[in-house]
């Protein structure tokens, strides 16, 4: 894809992201942050590409490090978000708590 199209994509995504995220209540801001944080590990896509293209051993290693770092970000981020979100429970009328998320 050419650079101008990608730049347009950058702008459009930023605007959509801004809209969608504005609706998230402050109650969920920590999981939102760790969730979007996991998404920033999407840079693993770039890391995979450069690691695959690298010829020199040093470059290959750097690429592998980039993949490892990004994957820690992705897996750690999503899992920890899951852990947090599962804790959010709604109180019921009879005072007993049930896990809404099941």
């Amino acid at each position: 894809m050419s650079l101008p199209i990608l730049l347009a994509l950058f702008v459009v995504s930023s605007v959509i992201g801004y809209k969608v995220i504005s609706d998230v209540p402050s109650l969920l801001h920590t999981p939102l942050m760790s969730g979007t944080n996991a998404l920033s590990g999407v840079t693993v896509l770039g890391a995979l590409t450069v690691a695959a293209l690298a010829k020199a051993t040093g470059h290959k290693l750097l690429g592998a490090v980039a993949i490892i770092l990004a994957m820690i970000n992705v897996v750690g981020g999503f899992l920890v978000t899951h852990r947090m979100l599962k804790m959010f429970k709604k109180g019921t009328d009879d005072g007993r708590r049930e896990n809404v998320m099941g």
Binding site: I16, N37, L39, T43, V44, L48
Partner: protein, 472 residues
């Protein structure tokens, strides 16, 4: 549209839909799952589209990263969430920096000026995110002093680092390609240095802003490195994360009465506005000696207030988290509810060390989320409330924010606890909060101070209430 682009679009939409589901606790788990599935799809798609799916190096690296990530996510305690997010953030930024660096080194073939621009930017922002986040994580984890580290001429050094990076960055666009690697290395070093300089001067209570900002950076870095390697998925999802971080940064700034430009120029530290920051610690001690001490006779007094109250609002602060008192607080709230009192929780946006931190800690203690109220939703209720119970919060309830012009917290929106009929404060001590401003609420007539470790003092209060109930 090719199938690759079509699938890519679907994964981007899946990601956006996933975030959209995050707007309610009922659907948020599904939203997160949708996000992770979209990410897995995007990874597989990239591997297939680039024809690199069979390379063992990639799978080995992914497996190692996934294992580490799994380990971290399972081990981390909820109170450590801020440093966890900061750490992961740093890893993401580091990865983006490496991707941009390798792109600059010509891995993807000859690079145009536009490529140099995007790769260079990715390198700068990624590196700042890496070093800045690691410093923030170290501070939050107590591996570094939480207090701002300030030295003479710091602003000058900050600006110099930024200026030098800028000059190198411009030179990157025009120098012959043979010298790119040298310039890139210097940019890397200077950006890392700037990230460190920028974060060491940030203290504990300013962390919510800093973490949000770094979160935004990591998204922008990913997006820009996506421009560098021409991956539309990376561009789109990175941009969404960048926007998300910016929103949270703005919210946090508003909640602390700071402008984004103040944050961006490194003026995040309240204490740096004092003429000599070195004395701040001893000054705090002096304040604390001057303050009224709570006596034990208060005990019966506040227990009777608690017994007589019908409507109660609990205000938790970072002190509750430090004392790990959230389980006691929950038990206390349950007992009070059992006595047919109405109990609500009021959460200030910057309570804790990251946006929404208090909510997570209370959720961990099984406090149902429909009892947690945002500042703007509950502030009008204080004047009709019989009793406010403060647990480890200070600046966010300090009425001086309305009146004390010239102090760091002046103009910061606060929870109007002082409007309630009575206030009981469970704090460790009467030291001023992070902002260093005395809290007039402490010496008000309708305030009872219960000093000491919140977990202990609240357990005692629970005992007092329960035994009192038996006597009746």
């Amino acid at each position: 549209m090719s199938w690759v682009n079509l699938l890519g679009l679907i994964f981007v939409l899946g990601t956006i839909w996933g975030i959209k589901l995050m707007n309610s606790p009922m659907t948020a788990v599904r939203g997160n799952l949708l996000g992770s599935v979209s990410m897995a799809g995007a990874i597989i798609l990239t591997l297939l589209a680039e024809g690199i799916i069979s390379l063992p190096l990639l799978w080995a690296a992914m497996a190692i990263g996934a294992l580490f990530g799994y380990y971290l996510a399972v081990k981390v305690a909820m109170i450590q969430m801020p440093q966890m997010v900061a750490l992961l953030n740093g890893f993401g930024g580091g990865s983006s920096a490496i991707v941009s660096l390798l792109a600059l080194l010509g891995l993807l073939g000859d690079i145009s000026t536009a490529d140099r621009l995007t790769s260079g930017l990715g390198l700068v922002i990624g590196s700042i995110t890496l070093s800045g986040s690691l410093i923030a994580a170290a501070k939050l984890h107590g591996k570094m002093n939480q207090r701002p580290i300030i030295f003479k001429g710091q602003s000058t050094w900050n600006n110099l680092a930024l200026l030098a990076t800028g000059i190198l960055f411009i030179s990157l666009l025009v120098i012959p390609s043979g010298r790119i690697s040298q310039a890139a290395l210097w940019i890397l070093v200077l950006s890392l240095a700037y990230g460190i300089l920028f974060t060491i001067r940030v203290g504990g209570a300013d962390m919510p802003i800093t973490i949000s900002l770094l979160n935004s950076f990591s998204g922008i870095a990913a997006s820009i490195s996506g421009l560098a390697v021409r991956n539309p998925l990376l561009v789109a999802i990175g941009a969404i994360v960048g926007a998300s971080g910016l929103i949270l940064t703005r919210l946090m700034c508003k909640a602390m009465n700071r402008s984004l430009s103040q944050v961006l120029t490194g003026k995040t530290v309240l204490i740096s506005k004092k003429p000599d920051p070195g004395v701040s610690l001893s000054e705090e001690r002096r304040f604390s000696q001057r303050k009224p001490e709570a006596d034990t006779e208060n005990q019966d007094d506040f227990l009777s207030h608690i017994r007589n109250a019908e409507s109660i609002i609990v205000i938790p602060g970072y002190g509750m988290a430090l004392a790990q008192a959230q389980h006691e607080v929950k038990k206390f709230a349950d007992i009070l509810e059992g006595m047919n009192k109405e109990v609500k929780f009021a959460i200030h946006p910057v309570a804790g060390r990251m946006p929404g931190h208090m909510n997570v800690l209370l959720a961990e203690a099984d406090v149902p989320y429909d009892k947690l109220f945002e500042m703007n939703d509950i502030n009008d209720e204080f004047k009709e409330t019989d009793l406010v119970i403060v647990v480890g919060a200070n600046d966010v309830i300090n009425p001086a924010a309305n009146t004390a012009e010239g102090t760091p917290i002046y103009g910061m929106p606060i929870l109007r606890a002082y409007e309630a009929k009575h206030v009981v404060i469970f704090n460790l001590d009467t030291k001023p909060g992070y902002a260093g401003v005395d809290n007039p609420l402490y010496s008000m007539d309708n305030t009872t101070l219960v000093l000491g470790d919140a977990a202990t003092t609240i357990s005692k209060a629970i005992d007092g209430i329960s035994t009192g109930k038996d006597l009746v």
